[in-house]
Every structure is written in structure tokens, then in C-alpha cells.
């Protein structure tokens, strides 16, 4: 089998204050997959995400991205390969204009001049935000800012796109537009979300994290229709939503 894009083995981590968030997580994500990472608040989802690009370092176990271990000496390349889109676009967009912000990652990789401009425009076109290139981020709507946040990461040509709560705070139209964009991207995706219909719509596979371990890993449809599993992991479908009425979504 090909080397997985994401290879997490026995990952355990405790915060300096003694709170242990992860107790041995195993997770493999292969090229081209779109995987939803589900779990209640406090399950360790964010902690896991911060290990994927070496912001946090494993207490025990290992993380590798396309075969490259996440270690101090590889961090620069790891952070190019793993693109994290954080939940609040105001945390992600810190430069005075959209252009400078999207250019930040590639510029750190040493891309300059016309090549940099081309990368920036291409990334913005992929999320349909090219016309806003010279606007300051705080003058954009929330949905537009989320899309620019995705572009800032796409500009780095990541091998895996990690999205933290991509649909949070979006109005239904922006939520659908973002789904269209994510579907159009030819990139491996790991999506942390509480939005179960969104997971079903976009990800054929779901991983449930609960209490710092992987509680389930399987087809999203099977996970969402397993009532006992759902209840045991504090997962609940929104009122009126029943995956069975849709049938198994072909991906």
C-alpha cells in the first residue's frame, strides 16, 4: 500500500499543567481521501490537529506526513505539507491586505516576485475570491474571510488540508459555497467538525475521537446510523435530519 499522507501512531500527549488530552491515537489518511474528525467538545480534536504540523510535539508515539516524521529538523517542510485552516478567520488573516496574507506562506518558502503573484492569484481563484485581492480582510464578510483563510493555506500547495470547524458561523449559503469549493479541490482533507450533515455531505469516511482515543473509524454513513455508537460518544444528529432518508451518499 502507498505511504499514507498522514500516519499517526500511538500518539499520546499531556499539557504542561498535567491534563492529558490524547491517550494513544492511531490514524491513517491516504491520498485523495476526505476524512471527517468527529467528537464531542474536549475529545482532543484540536490537540490532535496541533500535532499534525508540529505545533505540539508528541509525548509518546509518532506522526508522519507522507513518510516524513514530524520532528524539529523537518518542521519547515512539514508545515508546507500540512495546511491548517483555523476556526476563526481573524486569527488566520493577520496581514493588512488579502494579497499579503495569501502571500505570507509562499513568501516564507522563498517564493518571490511574479511567481509569488501568480501563486496568490491562483489560490484566490480556487476559492472564488480573486477580485478581493487588494481589500483589507476586516472589510470582508465572515464567509469571504473563511474562504480567504482556505486560500492562504492552498497557496502553500499542501498535501493535506486540515480544517477546524469549517462550517461554524457560516450562513447556509456560505456553508454550501464552501462545500462546493472543498469538493472542487484536488487535495486530501481532514475536517474537524460538529456539523454531521456537512461531514456526510463531504467526507466518505469519519473518525470519532472520544476521551483522547479513536472510538470509531468507518464510513460516515455507517457511523451516523449506528445509534449506540453515536450515543456512547455524545454525538447527535440535528433535529429532523436522518441519514437513512438520504441513503448512503455516493462519493
Amino acid at each position: 500500500m502507498a505511504t499514507p499522507v498522514l500516519d499517526v501512531r500511538g500518539l499520546a500527549f499531556a499539557y504542561p499543567d498535567g491534563h492529558q488530552a490524547l491517550f494513544g491515537v492511531d490514524l491513517h489518511v491516504h491520498r485523495g481521501e476526505r476524512v471527517a474528525l468527529l467528537g464531542p467538545n474536549g475529545a482532543g480534536k484540536t490537540t490532535l490537529v496541533l500535532h499534525l504540523n508540529g505545533i505540539l510535539t508528541a509525548g509518546a508515539g509518532s506522526v508522519a506526513v507522507s513518510g516524513m516524521p514530524v520532528e524539529q529538523k523537518n518542521l519547515k517542510e512539514i508545515r508546507r505539507r500540512v495546511g491548517i485552516v483555523f476556526q476563526d478567520p481573524d486569527d488566520q488573516l493577520f496581514m493588512p491586505t488579502v494579497r499579503q496574507d495569501v502571500a505570507f506562506g509562499p513568501a516564507n518558502q522563498g517564493i518571490k516576485g511574479a511567481a509569488l503573484d501568480a501563486v496568490v492569484m491562483e489560490a484566490l481563484e480556487r476559492v472564488g475570491m480573486a477580485e478581493f485581492v487588494d481589500r483589507p480582510p476586516h472589510h470582508l464578510s465572515f464567509g469571504q474571510r473563511r474562504r480567504v483563510a482556505v486560500a492562504t493555506v492552498l497557496a502553500m500547495e499542501p498535501e493535506i488540508l486540515v480544517l477546524d470547524e469549517p462550517s461554524s458561523n457560516l450562513d447556509p449559503a456560505s456553508r454550501r459555497e464552501l462545500a462546493d469549493i472543498l469538493r472542487s479541490l484536488d487535495v486530501t482533507v481532514l475536517m474537524v467538525t460538529h456539523d454531521l450533515p456537512y461531514a456526510l455531505e463531504l467526507c466518505s469516511r469519519s473518525v470519532v475521537l472520544h476521551g483522547g482515543v479513536v472510538a470509531a473509524d468507518g464510513a460516515t454513513y455507517d457511523v451516523l446510523t449506528d445509534d449506540a455508537l453515536m450515543a456512547a460518544n455524545r454525538l447527535e444528529l440535528p433535529f429532523g435530519f436522518d441519514p437513512r432518508s438520504i441513503g448512503n451518499v455516493p462519493h
Binding site: 504540523n53 519547515k76 491548517i84 486569527d91 502571500a103 505570507f104 518558502q109 476586516h138 472589510h139
Partner: protein
């Protein structure tokens, strides 16, 4: 959130003043301010000349004078001190409208007020005719240290975010029957400001994480 694409001090326009390179404008402002500050208090004609130069620049920029005038409220604290000066300064006293005031104090206050006003109007003119982004670029062209330009750029970027956050917190206070304007509730307001500081600090940490995640190595690209 401001509408349009400018900052709230910026007045959109296409005059020669708007188009002039930001670093020239910065150097001009600095030179103007140094000249004003170095002028002795009693050279009244010189101050008239400075004012004339400023008004000419503003008229050329086609920024309405009222637009500048309204934003001059930032000067109010200085005016307050200037008004106090003739009363608390020592020296020979003269009568003005039947009130005995210190003569050197009065001259000093007049000069102080003139210099402050010229400075405020000149800065407002720069702000009204230059986008913040161009100002930062200008500062970089003038070889201002990178760290300082970065800090200023973050300040501009997050000013609206933090003011928005404060506005939401104050709305939250009001909704729960607390009036931030009444002195009785000032302790509450102070605690809110403390909480805002902590929130902003935590945001700073999250922004730093986001920067690291995109390959930041301590130098802005």
C-alpha cells in the same frame, strides 16, 4: 466595521496629495512638525504661515475641512491642559475679562495650543489622504525596523477586531442591566477591559500559531 475599502480616518480621493508616495508624505509631515515645534511661542506670524500651508494642502487634497475638523476631538485633552496653564503658572499677572491670569502662562498656553492644533491637523491630513497599508509601505521604504512596522501592521489589522469585541462585551453588559457610563458600574467596566486584554492576549497566541503553521521563522517575508 467600516464600510467601503478605507480606514475610518481615510477620505477616498484622487488628488495629487492622495497620489503622492507615502514616504514623501511621512518625511514632509516629520519636517513640518519639527519646524513647528522648534518655532518660539511669540513668532505669531510664523504660526499663521504654517496654518496657511496646511490649509492649502487640505484644499488641494479636496478633503472637506469639516471632515478634518470633526476628527479634531482627539485634541480635547490638550486643550484642557492649555486652558489650565494661565491659571496655575507663576510670573507677572494680567487681567483678561476681569480674571487675573499669569502672562507667561497665557503666552505658553497660546503657543502650546497653536503647535498642538497644527500637529493634529497635519497628522489628520496625512491619515485622510493615505491608506494605512501605504503608510506601512512608506515606513518600510524609510528603513523603519521591520519589527516595528510589523507591530504597527498588526495594530491596524486588529484594531477593528478588538473594538468590535469590546462593543459586543458592552452590549452584553447593557443587556444585563449594567450601564457602563454610570460611575457606579465603572468597576464592572474595568473588569470587562481586563477580560478584553486577556482575550486579545489569547488571540495574539492563536495568531502566532497560525503564523508558525505557515512557516513563520521570526522574520516577516
Amino acid at each position: 466595521m467600516g464600510a467601503g475599502h478605507g480606514h475610518r480616518l481615510f477620505f477616498h480621493g484622487h488628488s495629487p496629495i492622495h497620489r503622492a508616495p507615502a514616504h514623501w508624505k511621512l518625511v514632509a509631515l516629520l519636517a513640518f512638525m519639527l519646524t513647528v515645534v522648534a518655532t518660539p511661542h511669540h513668532w505669531y506670524a510664523a504660526f499663521g504661515g504654517y496654518a496657511l500651508v496646511l490649509v492649502t494642502v487640505i484644499l488641494t487634497s479636496r478633503v472637506p475641512l469639516l471632515y478634518i475638523a470633526r476628527r479634531m476631538v482627539v485634541e480635547v485633552p490638550f486643550v484642557f491642559f492649555a486652558v489650565l496653564m494661565p491659571f496655575i503658572a507663576t510670573g507677572p499677572r494680567i487681567d483678561v475679562l476681569g480674571v487675573s491670569v499669569s502672562e507667561p502662562g497665557l503666552v505658553a498656553a497660546g503657543g502650546f495650543l497653536a503647535k498642538a492644533t497644527l500637529g493634529v491637523v497635519a497628522s489628520l491630513t496625512l491619515a485622510a489622504t493615505t491608506e494605512p497599508v501605504d503608510l506601512l509601505r512608506g515606513l518600510r521604504t524609510l528603513r523603519m525596523p521591520d519589527q516595528i512596522v510589523s507591530i504597527m501592521s498588526f495594530m491596524i489589522r486588529y484594531l477593528d477586531v478588538v473594538t468590535d469585541e469590546l462593543r459586543r462585551m458592552v452590549t452584553g453588559m447593557r443587556s444585563r442591566g449594567c450601564d457602563p457610563r454610570s460611575p457606579r458600574h465603572w468597576p464592572m467596566l474595568a473588569r470587562t477591559l481586563g477580560a478584553l486584554f486577556i482575550r486579545s492576549y489569547e488571540r495574539g497566541e492563536r495568531v502566532h500559531l497560525a503564523m508558525l503553521s505557515r512557516g513563520y521563522d521570526g522574520r516577516m517575508p
